[in-house]
Symmetry: D2
Subunit: 260 residues, 4 copies
């Protein structure tokens, strides 16, 4: 039972400078607290509610920035892939390939991600029972890649609402894969603002505390210098300045959760 790790960063890569600035700030916060950090950001928001919403920098522009963050800051990085064809290129610059929740059953994408040999983090679909993730794990391990992470990010609960079933964490852990709790997207209100998704930032800490007390290998918390002006997931990102106090409390819970 290792201490909880942190996957954090801005929802989308807005620019090289922005990504480096946030990565540096998170590195400093994580360093002071002694928490392991993986820097997360997306090069493409491929399933925005509306086609008019900003999608991000794109693969080609983003990969050198990921490489730079890894090299200059020494941080492992994570990003999401949307298409089997992207996996090989992304794997050269990025340490963890993430499969989006909507795509967690797409066999070709899973196999292409597995084939890179990188760690693969699969978000559980909002439409999937936690025990059904064993089939997803089997697709990856069956392809020869045992480095699988599973992430809970909420289950559909009526319309425009997600609910976080804390039983999903130990259920998914039965697969043997480390389980991450995504406190950012679990408080999303899908489609809740008509042409974009809403969110309940005030409940990020609530659900993160619950998950850590239950026991998780890692937390996924999107963070941003100025969430209210972020191009996506603003309503559910945590401001960088609020991260240290949040993480400190979570680490205290984690210590008790994992005490013998």
């Amino acid at each position: 039972d290792l201490p909880v790790a942190l996957i954090a960063g801005p929802c989308q890569m807005e620019s090289r400078e922005h990504a480096l600035e946030v990565a540096s700030a998170l590195k400093e916060i994580a360093g002071k607290l002694g928490i392991g950090l993986v820097f997360k950001t997306s090069f493409d928001k491929a399933n925005r509610t509306s086609a008019n919403a900003q999608r991000g920098m794109g693969l080609e522009a983003a990969l050198p920035v990921f490489a730079e963050i890894r090299e200059s800051l020494g941080l492992p990085t994570l990003t999401d892939v949307h298409d089997a064809h992207q996996c090989a290129a992304v794997a050269e610059a990025v340490d963890v390939l993430q499969i989006p929740a909507f795509l967690c059953r797409q066999t070709d994408l899973l196999l292409a991600a597995a084939a890179t040999g990188r760690v693969v983090n699969v978000k559980k679909g909002q439409f999937l029972a936690p025990w059904d993730m064993k089939n997803v794990v089997a697709k990856l391990t069956g392809a020869g890649n045992p480095k699988v992470l599973l992430t809970e990010r909420g289950a559909s609960f009526g319309y425009n609402t997600l609910v976080s079933d804390m039983r999903a964490l130990p259920e998914m852990a039965k697969t043997g894969a480390p389980v991450i709790f995504d406190a950012t997207h679990s408080v999303q209100q899908p489609g809740g603002q008509g042409t974009s998704s809403g969110g309940q930032r005030e409940y990020v800490a609530v659900l993160a505390r619950a998950a850590v007390a239950v026991g998780v290998a890692g937390l996924f918390i999107e963070s941003h210098p100025d969430p209210d002006h972020a191009p996506s997931d603003g309503p559910n990102m945590v401001a960088l300045k609020d991260m240290p106090a949040l993480l400190e409390r979570l680490m205290a819970f984690d210590k008790i959760a994992k005490a013998a």
Copy 2:
């Protein structure tokens, strides 16, 4: 932010001796840990899945036992009422009147319970949003009784399944009422065994840990010397022998949850 309190006892009062034995055992456990205890048991299971299931000792036989537990052990007691006509009599022997979840909208029952002046603990209906409990609280306080507790015990999630939305705890706390988490009935699988409800005892601790980390005034955990042979809710009660370790861990989480 007072330390978490405990509402515990066997699902139903099986006999005077059984009730006293469990109450004594819980008193000793709670005393050693310094946790406040309210003894809970039911004199009538008024809404069993099947009419053939055992209902309990009944009101008249149970009230003297409640009085005896209060007097001889010095424990406050809690029991559930199902009918407005029962409230006055129950209030003479019992300290907290509990409104069952299915009945949380029955105005007459709420008003009769309020009229006793006793503390009233209302379980949130499986069919109710947490923010709608403010109307329930208003029925009680509007009747002149401000001593209201609210208890989360799971929300309907498809058929034969409940889910515990941890956001419900701070949502209900907005009413000003202390919020209890019922870890026993939240793991119930309603009707899940055909003619009785199933349960997932292994998830009592999981959900209780989550709730305490979020922050609650109290925990509701049914416990029994031999749950597998209990006449009701056996699949989700905790064995008395497992309570000390469970409570100790929960109190450690509670301390962090309520640290300044």
Copy 3:
């Protein structure tokens, strides 16, 4: 496979005159269409969202009106009971005793209703799977009363929302009891207006058409001369003037649904 019957009337009995007026109007409508009619209205809304909402005329004032409607108009009547003590008195004036959805598992109420020998119509709880209604039927038939109707009125679907699972109709029919579809409360939005429930009147016809095509013994449609000024369930009642066209279409579907 008898033709579909109709249970209709205003949500609550507002006055003797109002009840008689609506009953007469419905009798005329039903007579012209050749559809069997049971007149429904409530003497007490015992579980309003808010304690300040109007509850109705009360038992004593209402019973003579029910008796008068039966006698002067020759209509069978239906009303809901909330307490075991009410059943015997209600059974003297009313033909069908209805068990509200929240109370469908209250054993004493079911047994008291069964003991009257009247037809008992049980609404399925929003928290109950359709196959679990067999246990409810068994409580009634086990008490010696085989005259049971079951009514679908929506299942909890996230917060403040119900969904009508049309599979519930044939599922409940497996018990052997005639199945009614309540098109009024199935479009309710529980608590959806803060201190009262909302409703989607535009979907009454949609769901009623679906249910009749699937095949039901009866329809439950609350109707009112002026729904927008009704004291309860206004948002989901159908105006009397709209009933003939709605029923005519439904009867056409029913004929095909029950063709050999």
Copy 4:
């Protein structure tokens, strides 16, 4: 309000002979009843529960068969695409491109499908509210392709269960797009058999009747000569021999649903 059309065929293309045989049989059935038919089958089951499940013939082998069916039988065809790169090639041989439910928010796939100029049929995600499909329609029409169909195939309802909300049909129709009801996948039990999905074939007719009575532009019903031995979706496909009686009844409902 045109008469209801039918999208039908075997879940996956098993061989050239099999596809032609089923298409011919369906053509004969549809011809006798005077119902418009689009032949549907999949060249790749890209999101099977398990990686070991049979995926189908693949794109290259299937396209000539689609072309042959169109030419020799004069039937329009429909198949699902899973990747933006497939759209152009598929559009040469197939008349309607279908976007799978899990992929209904993938912008690149939608844009590539729109760019072909073919009719695009989007299945509503199990995780999406019906009113949120307006954003999906806008992605397609915004790309210059107004030929959009929307298909209801059930919404997540707890774990391993879907529910068909009949209100979704008129909700989606507000977009102006013709609405299809998929009676095959609406009765699916996702992951319900451990390593494959279960289904409730007995409810295909139930839900199809409901949907037609509400009013739809088309029905989607997978059918097979021998469903119990089909490589996928066997538990919810309808046997070819049962189609004529089912369709005849549905057409009778449709006539009433669309009467002035």
